[in-house]
Amino acid sequence: MTQASSRSAARFVLAATFAGALAGLTGPAFGQAGEVNVYTYREQKLIEPMLEAFTKDTGVKVNVISASSGLEQRIKTEGANSPADVLLTVDIGRLEDAVKAGISQPIKSDVLDKVVQPQYRDPEGAWYGISMRARVVYVSKERVKQDTITYEELADPKWKGKICIRSGQHMYNNALFAAYIAKHGPAKAEEWLKGLKANLAQKPSGGDRETARDVAAGKCDIGIGNTYYWALMINGGPAQKPWAEATKVILPTFKDGGTHVNISGVVLAKNAPNKANGMKLIEWLAGEKAQHMYADINYEYPVRAGIEINKTVAGYGKLNPDPMPISKIAEHKKAAADLVDKVGFDN
C-alpha cells in the first residue's frame, strides 16, 4: 500500500466513523410505543432525575429537547409530523404563547383537576401549572431591619440607590411587572416602575445570583430574585454559600393581596404522536413523587396541596400567593415590556 492510498484509506475510515456517529445521533422521528417526546424550557439537568423516575415507574422512555426559546415555533413549523408530545415550560406567558400558537390540545384529566387549583390551570384545560416559584427580595441581614415588605414599597424613595435587579425585560421581571399592571392599572404601574428605577443602585445586569451577590457585597441592600436561586446558593458550594448567608429572603406581598408567584407548566402538543404516554407523564408530574422532587431538587413550591415544602424554602415564611388568577399576568405581558422600554428601566 502506498502512503497516499493508506492515507486516503484512513480518511475514509474517519469519514465512515463520523457518518456512523451522525446516524446514531438522529433522534426518533416517529411516535414509538413505550416512548414520549418532551420539548422543554426547563433545563435538562433539572428535570432529568424526574424523567428517569418516571421511566422507572412506568417503563415509558423519555426523549428530550431542551431550549431557551422558540420551541412553540418549532412545534408549529414541524406541523403534522412533529414528534412533540409534551411541552414543559416556565412562565405563564409562555404557556399562553403556546396556546396562541395553536400547538396545544386540551388536557382532559380529572386527576389533574383534583390536584391543581383552578387559579393555576387554564379554564379550558389547555395548560396546567405543575410547580410554583415566587419573585421575592433578598435583603441584607445587616442593613435591612424590617421583616415584611410590599412590592409597592420598593418604589419608596427611602430605598434610593439601594435596590439591585436583573434586566427588566427578563421573563421573571416581565411577569412581576405585568402582575403589577394587572393589580393597579397601567398609570400607577408606570409611576411605580419609575420609582423602582430611581431606587436602583446600578444599571440592571447579571442574573438573580449576581443580584444576591451584589447585596452580599454591599452594593445594594435589596435584591429582587426568585425563591429557588437563594435556596440553591445556601445549599450550594462554599463559594456561593456566603452570598446567601449575608442575606435573608422576605416574601413581599401586594398591598391588598399576596406574593407574586409564577408557574412552570405543561402543554399537550396538538399532534402528539404518543398522546397516551404524554398524558401519563403529565399526570405523573402532578403526582406525589414528582411533586416531592420539585420541592427538594428544584426548591420550588409544589402545586399539589399536602406536599411538604423544602426546609430551606419553608424557612422564608408561609407563602401567601396572590389570589388573582395567574392568566391575568399573561394578558399584561406586552404592556409590561412596553413600560420597561418607556421608563428606560434597563438604561
Binding site: 438522529t26 414541524e78 409530523n81 414528534p83 425585560q169 445586569s205
Partner: protein, 589 residues
C-alpha cells in the same frame, strides 16, 4: 522619498494581474472546454447559485415571517428601544473593532516580522482564545472581578475596606467590560487572517521597502497592512458579526444591543414578525457594509508575484525591545485564554467534577466533534467552490452580490437563523414524505428537520461566510495570470483548483477550517433550538448549568471545548508555517 518609493511598488502587482486580455487570451487559446451544449461557465454559475440559495432559503423565510405582521410596533420601538440599542451596539462594535484590530494585527505582525523570546510558542498560543465562548468569558471575569470575587477581596484585605461601597472599582458588567471581554476572545479572527497574509507576503516588497529606509512602523502601515486588507476585512467582519450576534454575554453584562431588542420584541413584546423585521433591517445594514468594503477595494489587486513567493526574514529583536514584544503578545493570550483556562481548571478541581465524572460527557464530546467536523468539511468545500467559481466568473457583476448573500448567514443571530431555517427544512421533509407516500405508501417523518442533518445544515449556513471569505482572500493572492497560463497549457478548471488554488491557499483554507470548526464547537443558540431529541453538544451541556446561574458546574465541558479546539489550532498554525515559500532564511544578524 521612501513613501514614494513604497507607493511605486504597487504597479508591480497591477501590471501582472490587470493584464486586460488574460481571460480573452485563454478563451482563444484553449477553446477545448467550450465544446458541448453548455456555456463555458455553466458549472461555476450553477455552483454560485446553489450556494447562494442555501443561505438565502432561511433568510427568505425570515422575510416571510417579517411580512406577516403589522408594523405598528415600530412607533414604540423607534421612540424607546432603537435609539438606545443603536447607540450601545455602535459603541460595542467600535470598541471591539479597536481592541481586536490592535491585538490581532499587532501580534500577527510581531510574530511574523520579528524574533523574540517565546515567539514560536506565542504563534500558536495567540489563537487559543477562539476556543472560549463569549458568554463563558463574561461569567469568568464577573466571578473574578465582581465585588465578592478574589481580586476585590484581596484589595479589601490589603487596604482594610469593609465593603464594596467604600471604594471605586471598574464594573465588569458594563459596556466597557463587554468591549474588553469580547475583544479578548474575538481578536484571533483578526490575528489568524492577518498572520496568514503577512506570512505569504512576498519578501521582495518588504525588502525593497527596507532597502529604501522604511521604518518598522512604515513597513507595516504602508506595505504589509494594505496588502493584507482583503483578509483583514474578513477577519474583522467575523469578529464584529460575532459581537453583533452575541446575546448571552451582552445580556449578562447589561449591554442593550439590537440583537437583544430582537429577542425582547419576540418574547416579551409578543411579536415574532416585528422581531424578524428588526433582524432583516440589521441584515440589510450589515450587507451594505460588506458590499461597501468590497466596493472600496474593487480596483485593487492583491496578488503576489508569480515567482519566488519567499517569506520575509524575521528580524531578531535585541535588548529591551524583545521583552516588550514578548509582553505585548502575552497580554492577549493571558487575558483571553490562560486566565479563564486556569479558572475553569480550578473550578473543575474544587468541585470534584473529575471524580464524579459525568460519563455522558464522552458521548456529548463525540457528538460535538462529529457535527463540527462534518459541517466544517462541507463548509470548506462549498466555500472553496464558491470562491473558485467567483474567480472564474469575475467579469460578471452579480456574482459579487451572490457571494455577499452567501456570507449573510453569519450576520443573523443564531436563534433567528434557526427560526428561519425551520420552514425550509420542514418543507424538504414534507417533499420527501410526499414522495415516499406516493411511492411506498408510508411517510418517513422529519428525517431532515428532526435529525442532526438540521444542525449540520445550520452550521454550514451560519459559518459559510468564514469559508467563502477566507477562500476568496487566499485566492486573491494568486494572480489570475497563473490560472490563465495553466488553462492555456490545457489544464481543466478542476485541475487548476487542485494543482494551483488548493496548494497556494492552503494556509488560508486551513485557517478557515479551524475557525469554522471551533465556531461549530461553540455554537449555542441554533443548536439549542434545532437539535434532535436526546442530542446534547458540549455547549448546550454548559448552557443548562449557566441557565441556572451555576455555570461552574459545566466547567469540565467548557474545558473539553477548549481541549478539542486546541489541537486544530496547533495543527493549522504549523500548516501555515510550512506554506511553500515560507522557509526562513537564516537571520541576517
Amino acid at each position: 522619498m521612501t513613501t514614494g518609493g513604497l507607493r511605486a511598488a504597487r504597479p508591480l502587482f497591477g501590471d501582472i494581474s490587470t493584464m486586460p486580455n488574460a481571460a480573452e487570451l485563454t478563451l482563444k487559446a484553449a477553446p477545448a472546454h467550450a465544446r458541448g451544449v453548455w456555456p463555458r461557465d455553466s458549472l461555476a454559475i450553477a455552483a454560485v447559485l446553489a450556494i447562494t440559495a442555501l443561505v438565502a432559503a432561511p433568510l427568505i423565510s425570515l422575510v416571510v415571517i417579517a411580512l406577516t405582521g403589522e408594523t405598528e410596533i415600530w412607533g414604540h420601538l423607534a421612540r424607546y428601544v432603537i435609539p438606545q440599542a443603536l447607540l450601545d451596539t455602535t459603541l460595542l462594535l467600535a470598541g471591539v473593532a479597536i481592541v481586536t484590530s490592535i491585538a490581532g494585527i499587532g501580534c500577527a505582525w510581531l510574530v511574523t516580522a520579528y524574533r523574540f523570546p517565546g515567539r514560536d510558542s506565542l504563534a500558536w498560543l495567540l489563537p487559543l482564545p477562539l476556543a472560549i465562548p463569549t458568554y463563558i468569558i463574561a461569567y469568568v471575569y464577573v466571578d473574578l472581578l465582581d465585588a465578592l470575587g478574589p481580586v476585590q477581596q484581596a484589595l479589601r484585605a490589603v487596604f482594610g475596606w469593609r465593603n464594596a461601597s467604600e471604594y471605586w472599582f471598574p464594573d465588569v458588567r458594563s459596556l466597557g467590560g463587554a468591549i474588553l471581554l469580547m475583544g479578548f476572545v474575538l481578536y484571533p479572527y483578526v490575528y489568524l487572517a492577518a498572520r496568514a497574509m503577512f506570512q505569504t507576503q512576498s519578501a521582495q516588497l518588504i525588502e525593497v521597502a527596507r532597502t529604501l529606509g522604511a521604518s518598522r512602523f512604515m513597513l507595516m502601515r504602508h506595505v504589509a497592512l494594505p496588502l493584507a486588507r482583503p483578509a483583514l476585512a474578513v477577519g474583522l467582519s467575523l469578529a464584529l458579526l460575532e459581537t453583533l450576534n452575541d446575546i448571552g454575554a451582552s445580556e449578562y453584562l447589561g449591554v442593550r444591543t439590537l440583537t437583544l431588542s430582537i429577542f425582547t420584541t419576540w418574547l416579551n413584546r409578543g411579536s415574532l414578525p416585528a422581531a424578524a423585521q428588526i433582524a432583516c433591517v440589521m441584515l440589510l445594514v450589515v450587507a451594505a457594509f460588506i458590499a461597501l468594503e468590497r466596493y472600496g477595494r474593487r480596483d485593487r489587486r492583491f496578488a503576489a508575484p508569480v515567482r519566488r513567493p519567499r517569506m520575509v526574514a524575521p528580524i531578531t529583536l535585541e535588548g529591551r525591545t524583545k521583552w516588550i514584544a514578548t509582553a505585548a503578545c502575552c497580554l492577549p493570550v493571558t487575558l483571553g485564554f490562560l486566565l479563564p483556562f486556569v479558572y475553569l481548571v480550578h473550578e473543575v478541581i474544587t468541585r470534584g467534577l473529575l471524580i464524579g465524572f459525568d460519563t455522558d460527557l464522552i458521548r456529548h464530546t463525540l457528538t460535538t466533534l462529529a457535527l463540527a467536523a462534518i459541517a466544517t468539511a462541507i463548509a470548506i468545500v462549498l466555500g472553496l467552490g464558491a470562491a473558485v467559481a467567483a474567480r472564474m466568473l469575475r467579469r460578471r457583476p452579480w456574482v459579487g452580490a451572490c457571494l455577499t448573500v452567501a456570507g449573510l448567514g453569519y450576520a443573523v443571530p443564531g436563534t433567528v437563523l434557526a427560526l428561519g431555517l425551520m420552514s425550509p427544512l420542514v418543507a424538504m421533509d414534507e417533499g420527501l414524505n410526499f414522495m415516499t407516500r406516493s411511492m411506498a405508501g408510508f411517510g418517513v417523518g422529519l428525517v431532515v428537520a428532526g435529525s442532526s442533518a438540521a444542525l449540520v445544515i445550520a452550521y454550514v449556513v451560519r459559518f459559510l461566510a468564514i469559508a467563502t471569505g477566507s477562500a476568496q482572500a487566499g485566492l486573491a493572492r494568486i494572480s489570475p495570470h497563473i490560472d490563465d497560463v495553466a488553462r492555456t497549457l490545457g489544464t481543466r478548471p478542476f485541475g487548476v483548483t487542485r494543482l494551483i488554488h488548493l496548494p497556494l491557499s492552503r494556509a488560508a483554507l486551513g485557517g478557515a477550517a479551524l475557525l469554522v470548526f471551533v465556531d461549530c464547537l461553540k455554537e449555542l443558540p441554533a443548536t439549542l433550538l434545532l437539535r434532535p431529541l436526546n442530542v446534547e453538544t458540549l455547549s448546550t451541556y454548559i448552557y443548562q448549568y449557566a441557565a441556572r446561574g451555576n455555570f461552574e458546574e459545566g466547567a469540565l465541558a467548557a474545558l473539553l471545548i477548549v481541549a478539542v479546539g486546541i489541537l486544530p489550532v496547533i495543527y493549522v498554525v504549523q500548516l501555515a508555517d510550512l506554506t511553500p515559500g515560507s522557509e526562513q532564511p537564516p537571520s541576517s544578524k
